[in-house]
Symmetry: C2
Subunit: 519 residues, 2 copies
């Protein structure tokens, strides 16, 4: 574990204080950057890696990728790539030379430095669900368009749970806020509710610049300080097959020039926007990601870039996207293997197709989360709260997912497989012999309270105990916890002057009309 | 995949006919022996393997294991082990010499040879839930003691699903049948409802002998034919810590002498019957299993033996057993790693602590099933239908689990990560270019129907479609399927003469009083 909590160092720190405040509702695991020491599951033999790499390179060399962004086209031309209308073709030597400039590992430092993240290596980090237009909870009992209050509540969960390391996009799209100023209100909410690493949507220069400015203000930073090290990130999708749209590239270039981090995540749905064969869908995804990363490295060598995977398959019957499938798992593993080949950190997701937080939701989500672990993923997007293929955010699902994430965090702890003499416990076994039990002995007493994962949502009572407690199924238990957490939530500390500066910035930019909405 | 379905060979076979009959309710994956090509997740460094091995050996050398079985004690004495009352101590050289006689791989041939299993290597096989005393389904809506009808229905699911490879113990204990004759009625049901590999409880010589005889009759075999190759198996638990009870060892010796297979599965619950530290619980489990396997190899060198793991942890708050936890996963992986060190096939389980088939049930079960995959497990016990730590069997859970098992089976198929030129699909990507989609192209059309896993229970409709179809949550969908499968179930073929012989055997043994119940 990499422990960036500084309680020991300075008697608590902000993360420590937040953890203490949260104690009233549940006992959760401490803030940690889990280290994944499992050898990744690598389905590809060396010739498989070579085949996918060659496929991705031939896509870039022979077929090309469309960039609907004049600035990008000029840069590619300048770099010596072949630009034919919007189609850019590039040689593998240049692509590999550029991609090699990206760091294998970097940090992201939010306004609370105790929440600094290490991206890359064998650290695995989790973020909240991002961008569903709709919301579902057990009280409402149906799918409704998202609003600001729901968005705020999900941001509170994002902040509350120590197993959530970074804030993704809006945890639900607050459609009750006009699109021109939505980013201002939500970023104000995000920055005041959470002190974790922030994200900016690449949806036009005004939004990107506003968010960077707000993150700078919230951190109490000068421009120079903001740019000195990555403070935030964006995540873009290509428009598969083989297209990058204007605002995404524009946003990335703006972040790159100010030293901020970029995640490039093609959404290559096999059988729809990509070949029906998983290796083909992965090759296309890699091509789409690598050409953008090469561009960003050309513009700003060494800028932190993460290669994302969002390769899944469609339902053979309806063409609808499916998630957390066996094919999804293999695509994630293959992409992880290829990301190591390219020396880039990798992002995957926690996903499902289920519409409600039931058994299907959890086997699909478990499949995708264990695939993240197996693939050596560094950033797990949508790790908590996702339903209906990303069209619904749910607080119950959020809390259920956090129980799974905590289990993964615990699974990573070397204590679970340590083999010191104390762990082998020969003397304890000798003391108990053939006719006793281990409940009362000193070896057990000394380790009992920390020996095992302690759930906050799983109900381990027997049936009779569970029945006596109301026979409550998992989503309803999660709903109760949701209400309690929101009811007792305390926002992390923020300097009053900074809060006012943020509010003033929002007011000023609203008065100016916010961002255009004709994109 | 190892395909033991002989449809191509002789136009269908019995498994083929059964698959066709089942087609009316769901389209399921074909009968296969899935091959797990993933490199196992091995948490132990070489010195960790050595530490656990040394711990297990020192337990056997210094502490010893109690065998409450005179015959076993005499055999150990004969073999030169130290026998002090019931406590047997044995040197590691002898243990390792005996264990080395066990085959790394063997077959189990049931009455339908198309259902022959290969146990060991990298084949992973699944069995139904075994031995819960209670039953829960959505119609009853509460926990009730099991009965014969429920047991028969769960056996029909065992037979129906191609992803279930072997029958475990009674899928629910039919307490409406007197214990003295229960084994006769249930084995009659099992053998007539299913043609898959059968299990015998080691609960007294009459039961074991009766079951062996019934399996022999059902297979139409002479005694010599029955004994020529393993036809069935037993699974025993030690009584942790460090005890083997009379009937289990007796049953195993009877099976061993007739060439049948033995699974030895200690139930070492860390913090209760084993050390609170997982490596200690694993070392103790290995010691308990290896001493029994050594005995069986001494009696009958080369007899098929499987090392089982059932190491989990207790709830720190209540002392209740927990399942599918992070510690459970690591214990399973460590045991798999040790089993390969000893050259033995390994058995683990699909387990959960949840009381109803909800989200918790599925994340706990997913954790345990993926741990089975990661550990290189060969036989997955309780893979479908288990609730409440094994105290409840549920048909809805059975069907939900089968959806997960099918996904694991599909995940194992090399097609999911193949990288031939057809898979990389460069020409398809070229044909679609930057501005099309892959739905209609020939490459997709040629592969569409078999490219992806097709679920039978997961609902991949969008929310509106799901709502229009009744907004049915997973367990209720599973319940409907359960009713349909049971309603249209057709038993596999059985020669009428054999059926009569079985019935006559049951009648005769009942007239003789069955088995004693004072064990």
């Amino acid at each position: 574990m990499v422990d960036t909590d500084t309680r020991k160092r300075r008697g608590g720190g902000r993360a420590g204080a937040a953890a203490r405040r949260g104690k009233a509702v549940i006992e959760q695991m401490p803030w940690r950057l889990p280290v994944n020491t499992d050898r990744p599951t690598e389905p590809l033999p060396p010739e498989g890696v070579e085949a996918i790499h060659d496929g991705a390179m031939r896509i870039l060399e022979e077929i090309g990728v469309a960039f609907y962004n004049e600035e990008a086209l000029a840069l590619f031309r300048e770099a010596g790539c072949s630009v034919d209308g919007e189609i850019v073709r590039m040689g593998r030597d240049w692509v590999m030379e550029m991609v090699a400039k990206a760091p294998r590992e970097f940090t992201l430092t939010p306004r609370n430095p105790d929440r600094t993240l290490r991206i890359g290596g064998n650290v695995i980090l989790f973020g909240n669900v991002s961008s569903p237009p709709n919301y579902w909870d057990m009280e409402i009992g149906r799918k409704v368009p998202g609003n600001r209050e729901q968005c705020r509540n999900l941001l509170k969960l994002t902040q509350y749970f120590n197993c959530i390391h970074f804030a993704g996009g809006y945890p639900v799209e607050p459609v009750d806020i006009h699109a021109s100023v939505r980013h201002l209100d939500v970023l104000y909410d995000k920055l005041t509710i959470s002190d974790k690493v922030m994200h900016a949507y690449s949806l036009g220069k005004e939004r990107v610049e506003d968010v960077m400015e707000m993150v700078r203000i919230a951190g109490g930073l000068s421009d120079e300080e903001f740019e000195a090290t990555p403070r935030m990130y964006t995540n873009i999708n290509s428009t598969s097959p083989l297209k990058h749209d204007h605002p995404m590239i524009d946003g990335c270039l703006r972040l790159a020039r100010r030293g901020q981090a970029i995640v490039v995540t093609p959404f290559t749905l096999a059988g729809a926007m990509a070949p029906v064969t998983m290796a083909g869908a992965v090759a296309q995804s890699l091509a789409e990601a690598l050409c953008a990363i090469a561009l960003f490295q050309y513009v700003r060598p060494g800028i932190p870039c993460v290669i994302g995977t969002f390769t899944s398959n469609v339902d053979m019957k309806s063409g609808a996207p499916a998630f957390g499938t066996p094919e999804y798992m293999r695509a994630t593993q293959m992409t992880g293997q290829m990301a190591r080949f390219y020396g880039l950190p990798v992002r995957s997701s926690g996903v499902c197709a289920a519409n409600v937080p039931d058994g299907q939701a959890m086997w699909e989500t478990s499949n995708s989360l264990w695939a993240a672990v197996q693939s050596g993923t560094n950033m797990v997007y949508h790790a908590a709260g996702w339903l209906e293929g990303g069209l619904i955010a749910s607080p119950e699902k959020f809390i259920m997912d956090c129980e799974v994430l905590q289990q993964i965090q615990r699974y990573m702890e070397p204590a679970t497989y340590a083999t010191t003499p104390d762990d082998i416990a020969l003397e304890a076994i000798r003391a108990v012999g053939n006719d006793g039990h281990f409940f009362g002995i000193q070896h057990t007493q000394d380790r009992y309270t920390t020996a095992f994962y302690q759930p906050f949502l799983s109900d381990w009572k027997n049936y009779e105990g569970w029945e006596a407690a109301g026979a409550i199924w998992t989503p309803e238990r999660a709903h109760h916890l949701f209400k309690e957490i929101i009811g007792s939530f305390e926002a992390p500390e923020m300097d009053e002057g900074i809060r006012e500066e943020l509010a003033d910035f929002v007011a000023r930019r609203k008065a100016e009309g916010g961002a255009p909405t004709d994109f």
